[in-house]
């Protein structure tokens, strides 16, 4: 077992890892930038080291400083949390060069899955469904027509150099293909000076479904059910739940099998997630990407499976046998997470750093709060705006939602604007309650 673990992160995830270490009896080292001196992760760790100024690139993103901090404190393992260096394969390699265990997948896996095109190719090769589309640039309308016919409408035409919706056209039938193709090319030319286009299957309001995985030595990969993260604002997840209201047992089986096969094919180690887009009308799903780290929303899965994923990460990295068998992983009940961010929904979700003057967490049955905030805490403007993850668990979805509603009513955060009012609106919305919300929900209903 490790002698001491350094947590190369801040905020709630640093605290989450410290909690796991404390429960395992492992000493911890917190690192912090000068602006995080008064943070809970610093107070709750056994030791702490200041690693740099507030700018992340000079502190939490600086591999050398983290390795040095581990060396001066005698830490023999580093948990990267999420964000910052969690998916940086150079950092993982540097750890291993210095005899420090990086608690995460092997650097090769991180490199492979970090390249989106390579990841898609790898998954496709082992039969994991990927979004059908052109292999590269589509030069002619005729080729586009053939491809679209093969893929099936609707399709989306995208500019290779694109972004921000420009040079992008959704085409719903063959009649509209030619004109849209030409318009997209013109738009791409004028916007990016590059008219290259490619074509992909277009999903109308898909669900974002992801599978929690854990890879262990001996090519063992375990799937811990799915999470439905369809409630997003500009690709930022806001609400996550498990199980998904639209995933049937049969579909779940297919999702788990695909995810396990995909992870096994790359010899995946540690905790990770494969994200899929699900067309809930047809039940077809498509590989989107793999996250080679623990995720913000992992507690949702912990609540419905009863397994402690962060402890498993640590124990597996230390070479301990978890004694897990596939039958051990069962989903029971329903869990939901609301991300409480310090941002102002009235002002287009602008992050709202500042001092939390009063704070009261909800409690009672079925409530879990993961937060580094406290009354008197100043949220620095340098990092993300997540101040608490509020989770509820119930015997079914309706109980979990009812609990979340009353917990949102109980929670008090003063001094900064938060996403609490928006969560209350979402949880009261008939479409969400019916389990029909897709990734388009916020734009469709929460104008």
């Amino acid at each position: 077992m490790f002698k001491k673990i350094l947590i190369a992160n801040r905020g709630e995830i640093a605290l989450r890892v410290i909690r796991a270490c404390k429960e395992l009896g492992l000493p911890t080292v917190a690192v912090y930038s000068t602006v995080d001196r008064e943070s809970l992760h610093v107070f709750f760790a056994d030791e702490s080291v200041c690693i740099g100024p507030p700018t992340a690139s000079e502190s939490y993103l600086k591999p050398q400083r983290l390795i040095a901090a581990a060396e001066v404190t005698g830490a023999d393992a580093i948990h990267p949390g999420y964000g910052f260096l969690a998916e940086n394969s150079d950092f993982a390699e540097m750890c291993s060069m210095h005899g420090i265990t990086f608690i995460g997948p092997r650097p090769e896996t991180m490199i492979l899955m970090g390249d989106k095109a390579n990841a898609k190719k790898t998954m496709k090769a082992v039969g994991v469904p990927v979004l059908p589309g052109s292999e590269g640039v589509v030069a002619e309308v005729e080729e586009a027509r053939r491809l679209a016919e093969a893929i099936g409408y609707p399709v989306i035409i995208k500019a290779s150099a694109g972004g921000g919706g420009r040079g992008m056209r959704i085409v719903r039938s063959v009649d509209a293909l030619e004109s849209n193709f030409e318009m997209a090319r013109a738009e791409a030319e004028s916007s990016f000076g590059n008219g290259d286009l490619y074509i992909e299957k277009y999903l109308e309001n898909p669900r974002h479904i992801e599978v929690q995985l854990l890879g262990l030595p001996g090519d063992q990969v375990f799937a811990f059910g799915e999470r439905d993260c369809s409630i997003q604002r500009r690709h930022q997840k806001l609400i996550e739940e498990s199980p998904s209201p639209v995933v049937s047992p049969a579909l779940r089986k297919r999702l788990m099998e695909a995810a396990v096969e995909g992870a096994r094919s790359v010899g995946y180690q540690s905790a990770g997630t494969i994200e899929f887009l699900l067309d809930s009308s047809s039940g077809d799903f498509y590989f989107m990407e793999m996250n080679t780290r623990i995720q913000v929303e992992h507690p949702v899965t912990e609540l419905v499976t009863g397994h402690d994923l962060v402890k498993y990460q640590i124990l597996a990295a230390a070479g301990q046998d978890l004694g897990l068998k596939n039958g051990d992983i069962r989903l029971k009940g329903h869990a939901i997470e609301c991300r409480i961010n310090a941002e102002d929904p009235e002002k287009n979700f602008l992050p709202a750093p500042g001092k939390i003057t009063e704070l009261h967490f909800p409690g009672g049955p079925g409530i879990r709060v993961d937060s580094h905030a406290f009354a008197g805490y100043s949220i620095p403007p340098n990092y993300d705006s997540l101040i608490a993850k509020l989770l509820s668990y119930g015997s079914d979805r309706s109980e979990a939602l009812a609990r979340m509603r009353r917990a949102l009513d109980e929670m008090v955060v003063e001094g900064v604007e938060t996403t609490i009012p928006m969560h209350k609106k979402i949880l009261a919305h008939p479409e969400f309650i019916a389990g029909r919300a897709t990734t388009g929900f916020l734009t469709q209903y929460m104008k």
Binding site: V29, T34, R37, E38, L40, V42, F43, F44, A45, D46, E47, S48, V49, C50, I51, G52, P53, S59, Q64, R65, I67, A68, A69, E71, V72, T73, H98, F374, G376
Partner: protein
């Protein structure tokens, strides 16, 4: 009541004063701040009965936040400045175990003169003085770990 910022204000107050100790008893809450006698190398300590800023944080074996903050206070006298560590690492007073220290208390140093080494990831980083002056205090012992921004030397600035 006594929140962290108020304590911080007290720390600053004490730092910038000629007195050595503040003790407050406020309806069941107690705080005592002690400043070391000028130049004797002791550090300021804080005592709080409970709460985040002491009670619930176990004493950190590595240089902890309060210590660093305390060391950041001028050791007294006017015109003193501190040389701080630009990185996390191990502090060495001399280039090798057998060699003499780069500098000692009382030495005059010029701007750019090497004062010590901070080793990080097997690399020896020479730390140069940012200004000319006389070494008043060496704040860290040889071969001890230092963190970012931790004061290493107090200099009395000349000229």
């Amino acid at each position: 009541m006594l929140d962290y910022n108020e304590i911080k204000k007290l720390v600053r107050l004490l730092e910038n004063s000629q007195i050595n100790e503040i003790e407050i008893n406020d309806r069941g809450r107690k705080i005592r701040l002690t400043k070391s006698a000028p130049g004797n190398g002791q550090q300021m300590g804080m005592m709080l009965p409970a709460g985040f800023y002491h009670g619930s944080a176990p004493a950190a074996p590595a240089p902890s936040a309060p210590e660093a903050a305390a060391a950041a206070a001028p050791a007294a006298g006017r015109n003193t400045r501190q040389v701080k560590s630009p990185m996390v690492g191990t502090f060495y007073t001399s280039p090798s175990p057998d060699a003499d220290p780069y500098v000692q208390v009382g030495d005059m140093v010029h701007k750019g003169q090497v004062l010590c080494i901070v080793e990080a990831m097997k690399l020896m980083n020479e730390i140069e003085s940012e200004f000319a002056g006389r070494i008043v205090e060496v704040l860290v012992e040889n071969a001890q770990p230092v963190e970012f921004d931790q004061p290493l030397f107090t200099l009395e600035v000349t000229g």
